[in-house]
Symmetry: C2
Subunit: 331 residues, 2 copies
Amino acid sequence: ARRRQLSVDEYVDGVLAGDRTIMGRAITLVESRNAEHRKLAQQILVKLLPHAGKAARVGITGVPGVGKSTFIEAMGKHLTGRDHKVAVLAVDPTSSRTGGSILGDKTRMNELAVDPNAFIRPSPSSGTLGGVTRTTRETMVIVEAAGYDVVLVETVGVGQSETMVSEMVDFFLVLMLPGAGDELQGIKKGVLEIADMIAVNKADADEKKARLAAREYRTALHIMTPASPNWTPPVLTCSALAGKGLAELWEKVDEHRTKLTESGELPARRRDQQLKWMWQMVRDQLMDALVEHPEVKHQLPEIEHAVAEGGLTPALATQQILQAFGVKFDV
Amino acid sequence: ARRRQLSVDEYVDGVLAGDRTIMGRAITLVESRNAEHRKLAQQILVKLLPHAGKAARVGITGVPGVGKSTFIEAMGKHLTGRDHKVAVLAVDPTSSRTGGSILGDKTRMNELAVDPNAFIRPSPSSGTLGGVTRTTRETMVIVEAAGYDVVLVETVGVGQSETMVSEMVDFFLVLMLPGAGDELQGIKKGVLEIADMIAVNKADADEKKARLAAREYRTALHIMTPASPNWTPPVLTCSALAGKGLAELWEKVDEHRTKLTESGELPARRRDQQLKWMWQMVRDQLMDALVEHPEVKHQLPEIEHAVAEGGLTPALATQQILQAFGVKFDV
């Protein structure tokens, strides 16, 4: 049976009332590839925007095997047990390739999935990283307007996904495995620099190793200039499986929020994130229009070949591409 | 007396013959803001391109006080003493603001400045970072075509200048000061990740401190995945003033070059750099055209305000901006 089409106001009222079915349907509109659906989604989002923005937004990443799902389930339960309403979203650009999806398998988060104060939404299983990022940002508006005061955004450590997530959250948490020396290798470039906190998970397995790992991460973080003058990223240990260290971790998130709200950095950061995101979309859409332009498409292979082989300067190549696109341009 | 205008072929022949006066004039054309000059420059560059690309391109950065000029002078002399021809260029986007310029004061490199096998060109003292980067890249073509087989590109640690330089060289060297603990703080975000080698300079002042610092940098580098499977960035100590450690440093540069040439990474990296640079210019020029468009200029303040204050979704704002620019666009 086909469901009755809801009006914009019915969507808005339903979301504001915390109706999980209507939230789900609104998110489906956001994720849709249908232009009409997406237009409707934008009308809903504009009305929800004034009600959004009150949640603590936390991004979470970690290497495979670090126990991200177990951690999110444990942290989610910890928070709903303290009267928080917790939404769990995901940015996984690989899901469109693999057909799988992080958070797709809700059995990975058995208890949280049935918690009335939790709302889990898997990463959309199709689309580019830019598309998935847009969807997750817009879904965040929906869950916040519905009254969720904690949004956890999980990401896989692939490509630019971590940077993208760090630019939609207030706090970026990096989960690490205990280990030392060579085992520590493999931290993705850029991750240390966007971390607001590192948590060495599975610390119960070998406490000494976990402490050693924490010390190495502290050294690495120590020699980098912190992003905020008011926050030095701490390195903690925890065990999601044993439920240890979760309260201490969340206290740090709270402390960060308090300090950066008082200093004015948090509201400024959020405004910057919105504008940066808008410009990112402008750039992406504009470049999409350029590479899809028939004349550019026609000339591009030859131009790129000439530049790669050293037969054409990049400046002249740029001139040719922009002329093909119809933009007047001086070298 | 006004100098006679040279033809494209006269410029090309002069540069290929290593004529320093003509090299200087060709670089002045590259740096010119005059459209005719720049058009002439592009005609010259296209003819020089097949003769360029044979030099070892090394980017050099370091915190203020690390002794960059002394280091470049010492390393330059070391190399010309071994029959290399050394060009020293610079990327300093601050010089347009301060009126000063790194390498501008040739007295900082007394000996190298009068060395017949060295060619020093200061950073152009005006222009955006993008403009200065373009100029330096194009100047590199000129000095390489003139037979300089080592190009050292100095940069100040400001904004994106280090990343920009790392994307035009084969090898990126980061100079550090000896010190430990708090003194190590202040490494710019991203610098550790683009370093192909770290050299702790002024090691003669306190060898123990220098070794301690080197160990901390090794730890920090160790936990990051190297950019190349064939190269783990080494951390060495040196003293440019005492002339110590320079031969060992350059051996590493040579070793890197040999390994990455054999593996095919170096030629691939250079092709990628050229194409990436072309696309960077396309994006920059296209966005320049957008923000300069009268209708975009007119609507932008209101759109940005609405997005920052949460009254408009970034997706709708993007639609409005692209429509103002005249690009057809679906949400």
